[in-house]
Amino acid sequence: MMTREEMWFGLCSCQGIYRTDIERILKTVEDISNLYGKNKNRFLSELAEGSKRTNGQSVISHEQAEELRKRTGIDEIRRLMELNEKRGIRFLSRETPDYPKRLLILKDAPYGIYVKGAVPSEKPTCGMVGARACSAYGRSMSEKFAAVLARGNVQIISGMALGIDAICSRSALSAGGKTFVVLGGGVDVIYPKENTDLYYEILMKGGGILSEYPPGTPSLAWQFPHRNRLIAALSDLLLVMEARKQSGTLSTVGYALDMGKDVYALPGRVTDPLSESCNLLIREGAGMLTTPEEVLSLLTGNQNGKAAEDQREQQVQKTGGSDPEIDKLYEALDWDAKSLEEIAQKAQIKAERAAFLITFFVLEGLAKEVSPGYYVKT
């Protein structure tokens, strides 16, 4: 006898049958068990051909029906489940207790999701999203926010895209926290491949990879907006770190707002194209990100986040000793990438002195080289 979990697995693992198709199928067959019962064949032909129940309209195509027939065979289901088990992929249907409760808030919550690794726990989560081609400012701010939140036991939810997404996940991991990513393809399809190392690091450090698409599904462009709704649903709070006008990130924001979640955006200069959407969001009522500690206390109600800035200042003083040029050079550094030339000019330090003093900051982790000769504060 088949368990309901297996039934859901069979239905959800069909290639080319998507959530909306499943919704229509279930409307017709009323309960999933009917798809597997004595009347399986009758239901299948009804779905493909149309019947009174469907107002004479076909619900799915013949190909889809054939796929459904194949995947609903018990042997096929057990074979696939075994295969997934070997690959460390779990399937959670809405009826599974492990199914993330946060997803149920969605009207169109997936009938089942695939998970590699863990699922986010009940502890606070925070979604962090943004541009793929981010600026040095977006990068360093994302690193800072993600690190503080992760240290405060907030689970970072993101999409593992290039740029902000990956930076947030990486930073959370190196701060010793957990991060969960929702992919736009199957959980075993690493996309983008540049983040292969991140993918495995997330798994190694107790995080998780989630997707509503069956393993092996390629990452297609149209799937990403749907993926974004899961990111929004999984996040208690959504932070937008950087976004251009008409950025894809805005779709995540839209979903979060539909669900009544709070959205915070990182303000930027009005002239920076990468801050354009962020600033617009703030004008339209999104929260304004100032310090990560503030977000942390919003999420956890704890005020432990120490003023990191003070710490920095102390570190600079410790490093530099009594050298006034060190202070001047640090003041000349910015969150925005600046060339060593500009930094030296602003600090009014001779080139050859600046050329070695900057290494102080880099070695102490107070500055970072983002492109040859270009530095930012960290």
């Binding site: 793929r132 081609a133 981010c134 600026s135 040095a136 400012y137 977006g138 290039l162 740029g163 983008p192 540049e194 002239t271 920076d272 194209p273 990468l274 990438a337 060339s339 060593l340 030339e341 500009e342 030296a344 000019q345 001779k350 080139a351 050859e352 600046a354 050329a355 070695f356 003093l357 900057i358 290494t359 102080f360 880099v362 070695l363 982790g365 080289e369 983002v370 492109s371 040859p372 000769g373 270009y374």
Partner: protein
Amino acid sequence: MFCRVFCADILGIEARRICVEADVSGGLPGFYMVGLPSSEVKEAKERVLRAISNTGIDLPPRKITINLSPANLRKSGSGFDLPIALAILGAMGILNPAHLRDTMILGELSLDGKINPVRGVLPVAFLAKEEGLKELIVPEQNLKEGAVVPGIGVYGAKDLKNLLQRIADPQKDYVKSADLDHVLTEEKDAYPVDFGEVKGQEVAKRATMVAVAGFHHLLYVGPPGSGKSMMAQRIPTIQNPLTLEECMELSRIYSVAGLLGEGPLMTHRPFRAPHHTITSAALAGGYLIPRPGEISLAHKGVLFLDEAAEFKQETLETLRTPLETKQMVITRSSVQTVFPADFMLVMAMNPCKCGYYPDRNLCCCTEADVRRYFGKIKGPILDRIDVCIGTKKVDIKDLKSDGRPMTSEEMRRQIILAQKKQQERFSGVGILFNSQMGPKEIKQYCQLDREAEALLDKAYQTYNMTARGYNKTLKVARTIADLSGMEKIQKEHIMEALTYRNAFVERL
């Protein structure tokens, strides 16, 4: 009748003596040439015969045989026309062969008897001297070049008619040979550009100075309009002046390439900036009869590769061996040709495809795009780059600032001092510059105090450096210490060297 004259052929930057023998005999009239002539030498027949007849000499219909010896070497070049003509005239009895016994002859003929310039006169002049010949006849336009070598009489021939008169003339006077002791000092400061014109790039200029002082290869990374090419162009102005020996070697290369121009010698360090569409053969040297490529034309000077990322991979790859051995060996069927190629490699590239990263107001490249762009210059070439510096776009403020930028003269003075220190240190070791130090020399000459050592250890871990990167940092730090006149490498020197490391490009 028979006549033999001397001539020369160029192989690489060396000349080889060739004997041109002419025999005029009875039998069916005709013109035969043997001794492995290449096609341009074979064509000499028509030029020689027409030139002689247009000079007003009637050649009787006889059988003419020309032999070029040694017969087993392939002869190429157009310089054989004149010796062939003179050998024929000698064999015909029109001129006295005894007059040409101690003479080396070189020149291309026009149909009207005019003598045209040829390539490679300088090495031929040296050869003539070595062979103990007394006289050298070259085309008039090559006279200055030939007259560089002292102790041999050089005559510049304008046309065949004048030449024949002169050969018969017992009173011979020659041009004065060039004054080699002064040829270098006279023109030393004649660079038309100066580093003082580069404004608002003091950090990059400092890095350039370090690179030149230790003969480190250099990479500029920066947006368009950040003065990369401008600085590269000015590097020869801060290199130490050429020595006479270097000048001669360089002039030979230019003579062979036919690029010597007006002056008889190359008195300046060359700056070569080939376009990125250049082929491997043009860069490294080659063709059927090997000719010096850009890397040899940049000998003792700067080879500048602008838009380095746009060069074809295989083209850049050809630089690997010459960078190591300082010469280019070209092998063609039976002959090996060696061209010297001891150049400073200076490359420039944008930080990304569009050129503006990390300025996000202008650049939309993704991180992957940026990484891919840097990846175009592959490890083996990057490994040889010791100094890498980012340049910034110059803004109007810099152009108008009245601050006094460092001039070439100041930079050069410091560089010469630092190089003197290196030469003292390495005398007897067989190297000249810090960049050429191997692991053994690094161990011996790059000792650090405890503080500096701790710092480098920390950097090694923080930057995830490789052993090669570690050694490079030490070598550059050695140069920086030499620039500041210190015997021991200090902490600051290590830190500055770390700023110039190209590990960033490597890591991406």
